[in-house]
Symmetry: C2
Amino acid sequence: MGPRIRKSPFFEATVAAGVSAFTVYNHMYMPTSYGDPAEEYRRLTERVALWDVAGQRQVEIAGPDAASLVQYLSARSLSGLKGGRARYAPICDHDGYLINDPVVLCLADDRFWLSIADSDLGLWAKAVAAERGDDVRVFEPDVSPLAIQGPLAEELAIDLFGAEVVGSLGFFHHVGAEIDGIPLVLCRSGWSKQNGFELFLTDGSRGVELWDRVMESGARFGIGPGTPNASERIESGLLSFGSDNGPRTDPFETGLGAWVNLDGEYDFIGKAALLARVERGVERALVNVSFVDDSGPVESLPLEHPRAALLNGQVVGELRNAVWSPRLGHAIGIGLVQRSAGTPGTRLTVDIDGVECSVVVASEPFGTPRRLFSAT
Amino acid sequence: MGPRIRKSPFFEATVAAGVSAFTVYNHMYMPTSYGDPAEEYRRLTERVALWDVAGQRQVEIAGPDAASLVQYLSARSLSGLKGGRARYAPICDHDGYLINDPVVLCLADDRFWLSIADSDLGLWAKAVAAERGDDVRVFEPDVSPLAIQGPLAEELAIDLFGAEVVGSLGFFHHVGAEIDGIPLVLCRSGWSKQNGFELFLTDGSRGVELWDRVMESGARFGIGPGTPNASERIESGLLSFGSDNGPRTDPFETGLGAWVNLDGEYDFIGKAALLARVERGVERALVNVSFVDDSGPVESLPLEHPRAALLNGQVVGELRNAVWSPRLGHAIGIGLVQRSAGTPGTRLTVDIDGVECSVVVASEPFGTPRRLFSAT
């Protein structure tokens, strides 16, 4: 560890809780394991887990032109988005390729947070704003999300914030709140389908205090530390930006077409390129796959890096990810393949460290491309 | 390890060579240790070391408007830069804050590589180009640098490429070359002051082959694996972007003022903000420091993250980095402090894990702010 990569406000607490592995996300260490994947999966799907997701940094855009700029950046229409609400909004570059897929939180008519995946979207947005001459400030505020996820997250949230606050908070709604004077924005959101909340801490000096306070209240719900969970998110059809897609992948290929608005009157970055590409026909599809015989490769899962996927001996794309699914009891994965190879039931072969594996393109129940991200 | 972070073309070779730690650099794993720091330092300063620095990605800018765009992006004048030459060029955002410090390689009048530090400069440059309507392509080419660094790098290079090619290659000169048909661009450059070359591999499928070939030829020069070296680079006064500076640091504060051209007639991004700041007076300085009594803290070096630096009990900045210096025989570091606290001889105190340390701002021989980066 060195000073180039930042530590989260919750870092010391995660170390005390026994973190055993980190990844780097937006130039910040982010926990990926506490050493017991099976228990962490159970905690997330049966009780409640506490995640340090401070690496999901915020890009704040504020000022008179903020709303028009945020719309210009987003492939999804933000029409009607108002204070206290959020929307999942894929963002493309000028060539129509996906460069991030943030949740956009509207704090006020002229103030937004883009809660980003792993790319320097703030740099990019600032360049766009400056070159357009927009009257906005684009910066990274002192905001660090801490997530509580799992079926008992609701009860824990009620314990922490009261039934009235939590009961009135719909999916992707958010509200300013505090715990023992620790300031935060509470949002019903998070990167799992187990229900939960993200606590956007707005004072980085109080991270350990917040972690400890949530752990204390969560004890009676069986809370424990966890991390964004590779098995659960693939079972649930959530996109992992940068893992599932490579560079030069568009939102239609990654199953995000429903969140791209090509029909609106307004312009957004990448719109012209996307219109042309839809006209020509989208080339690839992100598909879920099931391993047919996973006795061999399962030992080397999760996949360290993408592998070529073949149909009848021809490369038709890549297996981007593979994990063991506790829910399904077999290995599953995500492929980015030519559309012709993406029909449910298609059998593909993949060489994983010298073992030839068969995978079958899945339909229900764990997702088709169109259902890969069902956030509001 | 997962598929979100890329593997370098040299990855398998570094594993075979015994790599023991990686960092993440431009979304790619980059080796930081092979387990024996003292031997790696000796190899670099006495013989020759082989570094996988593929994480130093290239941003290619090509097309009719390439030259004018690259100048608009760069705080340094690129006037006179021609094919086969390179220049170190700090890059600022529109507010005049440093966002990267690449070496710009001119491949042709209309084609450049920005060999970047750790930030998504390609995203940013592409946004600027598109919003300006420049006729250029901005993309990441299949280019991965492999560095040979050390006093015997010259002899090794002659062995690999011939005395004629190497002899005619001045500092920051580059030329297309190949080894056994493996295509690359050979440049006299690298992030050490021990002399050396970077081999910009232009076919990612041949990384292990290139690594093995260089190792084979280097055997008689005592070559071995190494990585960018924290001790050597601080001793030598090379800037580590992202380690030495935080966000919102300008090139004058980081000792790069000599590579910023405020007098030119042309505009570049951040120029107006920098002019205003110079007018007001630069607030901070990057200084080298020596530890006065390093019996305690040396055990915890290198520094994992920045610590507050105090003068007479007042916080005057941060100790950004600290390492053991084999050359000097004591611990040294880099501070980013208020100018008034940056005078050589000033004694600052820093709390490192409960141990109060004294450091003294250094002058010669290991660098003053103005000499921190002496690349051409």
